[in-house]
C-alpha cells in the first residue's frame, strides 16, 4: 500500500480518538456513560497492563491486542491510539504554522543511550520500588494530567461564561460551576511535563516519544520484528529528501535508504509526500544482511516483558512506607492516615497500581478527589486522595471505581460501596460549636448518610454529636459540613486497609399514622 489514503485514514481515525479522549476528560457534567469511557481506555497500554496484573481476565487484555498490533504493524499505537501522541501531532502542526522551520525535520541520530536507559530505569524502579517512573512517564497518564490540570479548568471557565450569558436570558440549561483549583504545589510536576511535551512537539515533532516515553521505546524494540513497515524502493528514489523533512520522528535516512523502524510511528507522512512513489507501507522482505545485535535485543525485549509481568509479584513483597502519623494535638485534627478512594482496598494496594492519570479526579461529580502531594508519601504523588475540606464523597456514587483504567480502584456496586469503610469519623468535642458556643449546630449529623454521627443530649435543650465507628463509612460529609475553623470539630481518619462497615440498623417509629389533626 502506498496511497495517500493511509495518511488520511490516520488523521481521521486519530482525530476521532483524540476528540473522544478530550470529551472523556472534560466531561464535567457526567454525560458520558462509564462503559464508553472503559471502551476507549481498553486499549491504553499501561493502564490495561496494570489492570491485567490484578484481574488477569480478558476484560483487561487490551494490552495484548496492542502488543499484537505492534508486532504486526509497528508503532501504529503511537499515531492512532495514544492520546499524548496524537496531541503532539496537533501541536507539531501548530508549530509549523508558527514557523515553517519547526516542521522541517530531517534525519537525526537517535538518543539511544537516553531512551534505553529510561526504559531500563522505569522497569527496574517499577519492579523494586513501585510506580514512580510509570506515574511520571506513562503517556496516557501525562495526557490525563494535562487535561485535568490545564484544559478542563479552561473549559469550565468557558462554560461559566456561557452560563452567565444564558442566565441573563433566563435560560438555565448550563449552570455555573465553581472552579476549584488544586493546591499550587500539585501543579509543579504536571506543569513541567506539559511544558516539556508542548515545547518538544512544537519544534521537534515526536522527539518526546523517541526520547522520554518508555512505552514508545518499548514498542520501538517490538517493531524490529514487525511485519508491516515503511519500505524504500531504491530504484524509484531520487533522493529528493522530502520524506526526511516531513518525518516527525526524524528517522528517515534517505541518503542510505534507511528507515529507523524503532522510531517510526507510522504516521505515513513520508508515503504521501514522496512524489516518486519510492516509499510504501507493506509487508517487509528481510534483507540478506543480518544485524548482529538482533539476538541480544530480542533477549532484552523478552526480558523486559518478563520483568514487567513479574512486577506485581515482586512489588507484593515490598514493604511500603506508610504515611507517618502527625503529632498528636488536642484540638488539631490528627489524621494518622489519608483517606484513599473506595475500591482501592488499601492505601498500599492503591498506591501500587495508580498511575495518577487523574481520570477519576475528573469524573468525580463532587470534586472530592484531589491530587496528593505528600499525603501518601512519594509513591503516591499526584494520586487522588479524598480531601474533605474541599468536598465529600457522595453516598449514591461509584463513578471513580468504574472509570479507573488500571484497577487501582476496583469496581464496586453501589450496595457494596455504601458499606465500604474508607475511614472513620473522629469527633473533637473541644472544637465543637455546641460546647464552645453553647448553641445548636449539628451540621455533621445532618449530613451523615448512615447516622454514624448522631446527636445525644447535652446541656439543657442542646444536643451534641457522637460517632459510631461500626456504621461509619468515612464519606467525610460531616467533616466537610463542620463549620469550625481553622480546625474541624469532626474529621475522618483514613483506614490504611479498607474495612466493611455494618449496615445501619433501624426500627419502626412509635409515631403512627394520625387519624385526627393533633391541633
Amino acid at each position: 500500500m502506498r496511497s495517500s489514503l493511509l495518511r488520511r485514514f490516520r488523521i481521521i481515525f486519530s482525530t476521532f480518538i483524540f476528540i473522544c479522549f478530550i470529551l472523556v476528560f472534560i466531561d464535567f457534567r457526567s454525560l458520558i456513560p462509564t462503559r464508553y469511557t472503559n471502551l476507549l481506555l481498553y486499549l491504553q497500554f499501561i493502564p490495561s497492563f496494570l489492570k491485567f496484573t490484578t484481574l488477569q481476565s480478558v476484560a483487561a487484555g487490551g494490552f495484548i491486542a496492542v502488543l499484537a498490533l505492534t508486532i504486526l504493524t509497528g508503532r501504529t499505537y503511537c499515531s492512532f491510539l495514544c492520546p499524548l501522541g496524537i496531541g503532539q501531532d496537533l501541536t507539531s502542526r501548530i508549530g509549523g504554522r508558527i514557523k515553517k522551520k519547526f516542521r522541517r525535520y530531517g534525519y537525526k541520530k537517535p538518543f539511544t543511550v537516553l531512551r534505553y536507559s529510561l526504559l531500563a530505569i522505569t522497569l527496574i524502579v517499577t519492579m523494586l520500588w513501585g510506580m514512580y517512573m510509570i506515574t511520571l512517564l506513562d503517556p496516557y497518564s501525562i495526557f490525563g494530567r494535562n487535561m485535568t490540570y490545564f484544559i478542563k479548568p479552561l473549559v469550565i471557565i468557558l462554560n461559566n461564561f456561557l452560563a452567565g450569558i444564558l442566565g441573563r436570558f433566563d435560560i438555565y440549561s448550563l449552570s455555573n460551576i465553581p472552579v476549584k483549583g488544586f493546591t499550587l504545589i500539585a501543579y509543579s510536576i504536571p506543569a513541567a511535563f506539559f511544558t516539556l511535551v508542548v515545547l518538544l512537539s512544537l519544534t521537534k515533532g515526536r522527539l518526546f516519544c523517541n526520547m522520554f516515553c518508555p512505552v514508545g521505546t518499548f514498542f520501538g524494540l517490538l517493531s524490529k520484528v514487525s511485519l508491516f513497515r515503511i519500505k524504500f524502493d531504491e530504484s524509484k528514489c531520487t533522493r529528493c529528501g522530502r520524506c526526511s523533512m516531513r518525518c516527525k520522528s526524524s528517522c528517515i535516512d534517505f541518503l542510505n535508504h534507511d528507515v529507523d523502524i524503532t522510531r517510526c510511528v507510522d504516521c505515513f507522512n513520508c508515503v504521501t509526500i514522496c512524489q516518486d512513489k519510492a516509499l510504501s507501507y507493506g509487508i517487509v522482505r528481510f534483507k540478506k544482511k543480518v544485524h548482529e545485535t538482533d539476538e541480544s535485543k530480542r533477549k532484552l525485549i523478552i526480558g523486559s516483558a518478563l520483568l514487567l509481568l513479574g512486577v506485581s509479584r515482586a512489588a507484593n513483597g515490598q514493604v511500603k512506607t506508610a504515611p507517618k502519623p502527625k503529632k498528636d494535638s488536642t484540638v488539631k485534627e490528627s489524621k494518622t492516615f489519608p483517606v484513599c478512594p473506595p475500591g482501592g482496598l488499601s492505601i498500599a494496594e492503591f498506591n501500587k497500581y495508580c498511575t495518577a492519570c487523574s481520570l477519576c479526579i475528573n469524573a468525580c461529580p463532587n470534586n472530592v478527589l484531589q491530587p496528593a502531594f505528600k499525603q501518601y508519601g512519594i509513591s503516591g504523588m499526584m494520586q487522588p486522595v479524598m480531601d474533605y475540606h474541599k468536598s465529600f464523597c457522595t453516598y449514591n456514587c461509584t463513578v471513580c471505581t468504574e472509570v479507573c483504567p488500571t484497577s487501582a480502584l476496583r469496581p464496586l456496586v453501589l450496595e457494596a460501596k455504601k458499606l465500604t469503610q474508607i475511614g472513620k469519623a473522629k469527633f473533637i468535642k473541644d472544637n465543637c460549636i455546641v460546647k464552645t458556643e453553647k448553641t445548636a449546630c449539628g451540621a455533621c449529623s445532618e449530613s451523615c448518610p448512615t447516622k454514624a454521627v448522631h446527636m445525644i443530649p447535652y446541656e439543657g435543650n442542646l444536643v451534641i454529636p457522637e460517632t459510631k465507628d461500626d456504621i461509619c463509612i468515612g464519606c467525610g460529609h460531616c467533616e466537610y459540613a463542620c463549620p469550625t475553623v481553622p480546625y474541624k470539630a469532626i474529621y475522618v481518619d483514613g483506614n490504611p486497609v479498607h474495612l466493611a462497615a455494618k449496615k445501619p440498623e433501624n426500627v419502626q417509629s412509635e409515631i403512627k399514622t394520625p387519624v385526627e389533626f393533633p391541633f
Binding site: N176, E437, C441, S509, I511, F517, F519
Partner: protein
C-alpha cells in the same frame, strides 16, 4: 437597574413594615398579606399530595389570591438530599408540580424552582424527582450550586444574622411560595417552614456556627417573606432527619398544611411530630420577634378530611 430599584423599594417596604410593627404589632402587618380568606390556616388530611393541595388552596381563595397576572413566582421546595421521593427527605414532586400548575393557571408569567442542596445538586435535583416534575409543569429549574448566583442582602434587626447572600431568583421574583417538607432534624429537632429558608442562602455554615436557631429566626425578618407556605406532611420522616437512613424513618401522615403564617405553620407541624413547640427553639424566637403566631388556639384553622 431593576434589581437596584427593587432593593430600594424593599428597604422602603421594610421600613414601613418596621414602623407598622412598632405601632400596631404584627397582627396588622400580617393582615394585608392574608388573602382575604377567612382562614389563617387550612389543614387537609387523607388524600394524595396534589388532591389535598387542590382542596386546600380552594379554601384559601385559590392561587389567584396570592398571584397577580404576569408576576414571576419562586417555588422553594426542599431538594436538599440525594434521596428518592419514597424516602421523603425532599418535598413531594407531585405537590411541587401541582402548585406550579396552579400558579400558571392564576396567570403567573414564570415559575422558578431551586434549592441550595446539601448533597451533590445534580443528583438531588434528579433523584428527588422534582426537576422532572417541575419542568413538566413548565417551571424553570434553576441551579443554586455556585456562589455566583447569590447576592448580599441586609437583615435589619437580626440578632445574630444581619446579612446573608441570597439566591438572585429570590430577589428577581414577585411572589415567594415556601414548600417545605416536614421532617425530624438532628440538631434543631424539626425542619419545616422557617428552616427551609436555609436553602435560599449561600453560607449556611455561618448559621451553624453562630447560633443556628437564632439565625433561622433572624432570616424570617428579611422583607421577602413567603406569600404562602405549603407544608408537605404526606410522608413524614420522624427520626434520623433531615436525611433519613431507611423507610423505617418514614410515617405516612397523608396531610398537608397551607398557611400564610409560617410561624403558625411550624407550630402546627411540631404538633404533627408530637413535639413541644418550645423544644424547637427558633419557633418561640420567631414568635417573640413578631414574625408570626405560634399560638394555634388564637388562629382560625380550617380542617378538612378527605
Amino acid at each position: 437597574m431593576k434589581r437596584r430599584d427593587f432593593l430600594k423599594t424593599s428597604v422602603g417596604a421594610g421600613l414601613a413594615a418596621g414602623a407598622a410593627l412598632s405601632l400596631g404589632g404584627y397582627d396588622k402587618l400580617w393582615m394585608p398579606a392574608s388573602s382575604g380568606s377567612k382562614f389563617d390556616m387550612v389543614a387537609v388530611m387523607g388524600g394524595n399530595p396534589d388532591a389535598m393541595f387542590d382542596l386546600g388552596i380552594q379554601e384559601l381563595g385559590g392561587m389567584g389570591a396570592f398571584i397577580q397576572k404576569g408576576q414571576k413566582v419562586l417555588i422553594k421546595p426542599n431538594i436538599g438530599w440525594d434521596v428518592i421521593p419514597e424516602l421523603a427527605a425532599n418535598t413531594n414532586p407531585l405537590l411541587v408540580k401541582r402548585i406550579i400548575e396552579h400558579c400558571f393557571k392564576a396567570g403567573a408569567k414564570e415559575v422558578y424552582v431551586f434549592d441550595h442542596t446539601c448533597d451533590n445538586w445534580v443528583n438531588c435535583y434528579k433523584n428527588s424527582g422534582i426537576e422532572k416534575a417541575a419542568k413538566s409543569a413548565g417551571a424553570k429549574v434553576v441551579p443554586a450550586n455556585s456562589e455566583s448566583y447569590y447576592q448580599k442582602i441586609e437583615i435589619p434587626g437580626g440578632v445574630k444574622l444581619q446579612s446573608a447572600k441570597v439566591h438572585q431568583v429570590l430577589l428577581e421574583t414577585d411572589v415567594f411560595i415556601n414548600v417545605p417538607i416536614l421532617k425530624d432534624h438532628s440538631s434543631t429537632r424539626m425542619t419545616c417552614c422557617l428552616k427551609n429558608t436555609m436553602g435560599l442562602v449561600w453560607d449556611r455554615g455561618y448559621w451553624h456556627s453562630n447560633d443556628l436557631n437564632q439565625c433561622i429566626a433572624d432570616f424570617a425578618l428579611y422583607e421577602k417573606k413567603p406569600a404562602l407556605n405549603v407544608i408537605d406532611c404526606y410522608n413524614v420522616m420522624v427520626k434520623h432527619g433531615p436525611q433519613g437512613v431507611s423507610k423505617e424513618d418514614i410515617v405516612l401522615m397523608q396531610s398537608q398544611i397551607l398557611t400564610t403564617d409560617w410561624v403558625a405553620g411550624d407550630a402546627a407541624a411540631a404538633k404533627m411530630m408530637k413535639m413541644p413547640v418550645e423544644k424547637i427553639e427558633y419557633i418561640p424566637m420567631a414568635h417573640k420577634m413578631g414574625l408570626g403566631n405560634m399560638n394555634l388556639e388564637s388562629l382560625n384553622i380550617k380542617r378538612i378530611k378527605m
